[in-house]
């Protein structure tokens, strides 16, 4: 692992990417961009206090996008390979050049403007070398301890789908024909456990999960196991409630999923196609005052942070919704040109193809009230702890999802409910976010605190 990630390797990969771009230009391209991704993964799974599986391996891939024709009237082609040998790269470049001949001239395609390229300097804490110090034995022990904490928590937990500890180190390299070359290394590790609670013939499972750039940022295995156990237990003996309209509280884990649907609606690709209910709403009051949504890929250490996006534009902070007013879409250079706007540095792709649009750290700013205070304000409603299937329709805003959670009576969480759906329209849901909790935590690139939505339709019996 160590020798793969040495500085020598880094310059080699940057060299391979730059060479591929050169080859494309020599082959007649007017522009080119090359991405190389390399990663090593380790994973251990334990179940019922025994090791169940162990996996360790690495892989790499390169992708290129070439443009032919004069800027403003270019056409593009893409290809990728897992063979980074000179022959492999040569074949890849040739394939992309061939494909560029069959695509259409698109006045909006191209690389970003030279002035739009750049990268954040300074340590973004994306890679923690402590990741290399974790031994296999230590990782196995973390998983065993997390599962033990769950199994020992309550006699109703005798079964588990297991616990796993995963770690990953990777490198991402990008070069384009405007002279941009950049690369960065990342590390991550995570611990999760899935206990199963049983009572009177019924079974429920739930999970808890912690992730960080290295071991120091993880929650303790005992805490992960205990929280997972508590979550599984509180689902036992769930009821199906009557069909009705009530206030709905999303806990952070489910609020984050709802925010993912909002991301799709501010994605520039959906906007220029008129495939979003938020198209044409820039500057409009689309949500309640309590809601401020930010995309920020510059916060050190977080999972959505990068020095530059996947077409070489520097990462930045973009306020998307400010106190309910739609301030900005999230854009790459293509959607920006289509909309006559500027890229927001949200280009995202695997290793090949036209860039799509992805989040940096996309989050709802924390509010003032604790989750307990928000729950205390609801006389009768639903506290959603799990969403299953369904979700939002970006085009129309219609929202319908399976759900499970706890019923709120007189400001208190009472019995569990399941086998119900929640439905509404995201237009109204955004206007009806009456409370935003103070409990914002970044467990992934998309993060949200507790949210209270004034009214949704619960479908049950």
């Amino acid at each position: 692992m160590q020798d793969r990630m040495s500085p020598a390797q880094e310059s080699t990969l940057e060299q391979i990417a730059a060479d591929a771009v050169e080859q494309a230009l020599a082959g007649g391209a007017s522009g080119a961009e090359c991405t190389i991704s390399e990663g090593e993964e380790f994973s251990v799974g334990v179940r019922m206090r025994e090791i169940e599986n162990l996996k360790e391996a690495g892989s790499r891939g390169a992708g290129i996008r070439v443009l032919i024709g004069e800027p403003g009237a270019q056409r593009g082609g893409s290809s990728y390979t897992s063979d980074l040998s000179p022959e492999g790269i040569q074949k890849m470049v040739k394939a992309a050049l061939e494909l560029a001949k069959i695509t259409s001239v698109d006045p909006f395609t191209g690389l970003p403007e030279p002035a739009e390229l750049g990268k954040l300097e300074g340590d973004l804490r994306l890679y923690d070398e402590a990741i290399e110090d974790m031994t296999t034995e230590w990782k196995i022990d973390q998983a065993l301890r997390a599962e033990k904490a769950a199994l020992d928590f309550d006699p109703r937990i005798q079964l588990s789908e297991g616990a796993s500890f995963d770690s990953h180190v990777g490198r991402r390299v990008f070069a384009n024909s405007l002279g941009f070359t950049g690369s960065y290394q990342t590390s991550s590790c995570s611990l999760s456990v899935v206990p199963v609670a049983r009572q009177d013939g019924a079974m429920e499972r739930d999970y808890w999960h912690t992730a960080a750039r290295s071991a120091a940022g993880l929650e303790s295995p005992e805490s992960v196991g205990r929280i997972a156990a508590e979550r599984a237990l509180r689902r036992l003996n769930a009821r199906k409630v009557a069909t009705q309209k009530v206030p709905v509280i999303f806990e952070p884990r489910t609020a984050r999923q709802f925010l993912g649907d909002i991301f799709d609606a501010v994605n520039g690709s959906s906007i220029y196609r008129h495939a979003s209910f938020l198209a044409g709403k820039l500057g409009d009051k689309i949500a309640c005052d309590a809601l401020t949504v930010v995309d920020d890929a510059t916060i050190p250490g977080l999972f959505g942070t990068t020095p530059f996006d996947d077409e070489g534009a520097p990462s930045r902070r973009t306020v998307v919704i400010e106190r309910g007013v739609l301030k900005s879409y999230l854009l790459n250079s293509y959607s920006a040109r289509k909309l006559n706007l500027k890229t927001t540095g949200n280009a995202s792709r695997g290793i090949t193809g036209n860039a799509g649009i992805g989040p940096g750290n996309f989050f709802i700013e924390a509010g003032a009230l604790s989750p307990e205070q928000i729950i205390a304000g609801v006389p009768n409603g639903l506290y959603v702890t799990e969403l299953i299937g369904g979700g939002g329709n970006t085009v129309t805003g219609d929202y319908s999802s399976g759900a499970a959670g706890l019923w709120i009576e007189n400001g208190k969480l009472t019995y569990p409910v399941s086998e119900i759906t929640i439905a509404g329209n995201m237009r109204q849901m955004l206007q009806q976010i009456d409370q935003v909790g103070s409990d914002l935590e970044f467990r992934g690139a998309v993060a949200a605190p507790t949210l209270l939505i004034r009214e949704m339709t619960i479908s049950g019996q």
């Binding site: 599986n53 690495g58 074949k91 494909l99 199963v196 009705q244 299937g389």
Partner: protein, 477 residues
Amino acid sequence: MSFNQSFFAARFGITEHDLESYLSEALSAGGDYADLYFEYLATSSIGVDEEIVKSATEGVTMGVGVRVLAGERTGYAYSDDLSPGKIRKAARVAALIAKGPASVVKSGFEQSQQHNLYPMLHAPNEMGLAERVDLVKRADLAARAYDPRVFQVQATYADSLRNVLVATSDGRLSFDRQPMARMSVMVLARQGEGSPQHGYSGGGGRVTLDFFLNQKTPEHFAREAARQAMVQLDAGDAPAGEMPVVLGPGWPGILLHEAVGHGLEADFNRKGTSAFSGRIGQEVASPLCTVIDDGTIGSRRGSLNVDDEGMPTQKNILIENGVLRGYLQDKLSSRLMKTASSGSGRRESYQHIPMPRMTNTYMLAGDSDPADIVRSVSKGLYCATFSGGQVDITSGNFVFSATESYLIEDGKITRPVRGASLIGNGPEALKYVSMVGHDLKLDEGIGTCGKEGQSVPVGVGIPTVKIDRMTVGGTAA
């Protein structure tokens, strides 16, 4: 075909002796079993968007996965480099799961029996780029011609050819060449200043480009996508609450995939975490229901000549006249449960550990006339198309999301309604099946199933069925 003519032997010079030596390395620290999965995957896709060809991509990935089983334990490693040194290194890493004296690899390989479910007229790369461009352009034109209210069309054609080789320490050798092609069309339509509506259609299977010239044309998918968008322009709010639900034939078979299929995968049942655990021989559906998982249907998206553990695929009966008959088994679970593999071991790629998965899951036809089924409902919902679904296999609760559905009022299909999620409980939902149509239909070939982070192509099918009670998640309470 002999091994020496097979893809990996011919292209990479891999010999049977090499395979034996890699397997010996994998079992050098003991273990019950080891296997190698070589994969070479070539993909290509082309897309038209806003009336122009905006994207064209192709690529190649290759690698080998090495697995060692020791009791309930699995050791796994892979390499994207097929040189002997790298494969040996992966074998040694996978071997770390076992601790003991070396196990013996059976000497000499026997070629696995296998089907011939997808003979190829042409290899995907023999059809030129011009034909591909033509397919997506035809789809774009046909969708726009369907109705002037169509204002956005995205059409994609994608195909791939996967060469695989599986070699096992118990002396089994199998190789396969697996084509896959798919066309999809997405349409947006708008009436006046109203909200745009979305329509989607797609299909394909283990076929090559000729299929879209001769059998299911781009126009077929384009018109279907446009038709769905038109239906949505007139749709009202979906109802909320429990009601009778009639599922149309074909893709609504996703019900079976979510409600019972996942819950019958052997890994969950071996571990006792499925709502169906320990229920073989019990009634889990109405006697009208017989549910099959069949990996042997010619050219279907979920079909395989051999599964990803080198076992021939089978037609497996999951539920027979309402009674639970069997689980979907891979090698690990079947060995631990002391039964046979059902040819259901699948994986996304050489980077992934195989596990029990579905192939093509469907319900056998019944006796009812579909028109009689609708006539029997005084107030309910008719669902023609779904987008997807999800299941919690432990509680058994599952959701599937309707994208085209209609109210049934006094035995007649009346107004279209907006998309809504339907929720039920796996071991209970099929007990409410009260009528099964004679019109079994398999889906068009668009399904992709996700499990523990691994995606594999699958098929589903169902005749028109009536479910007396199901919760519909609309907004019109």
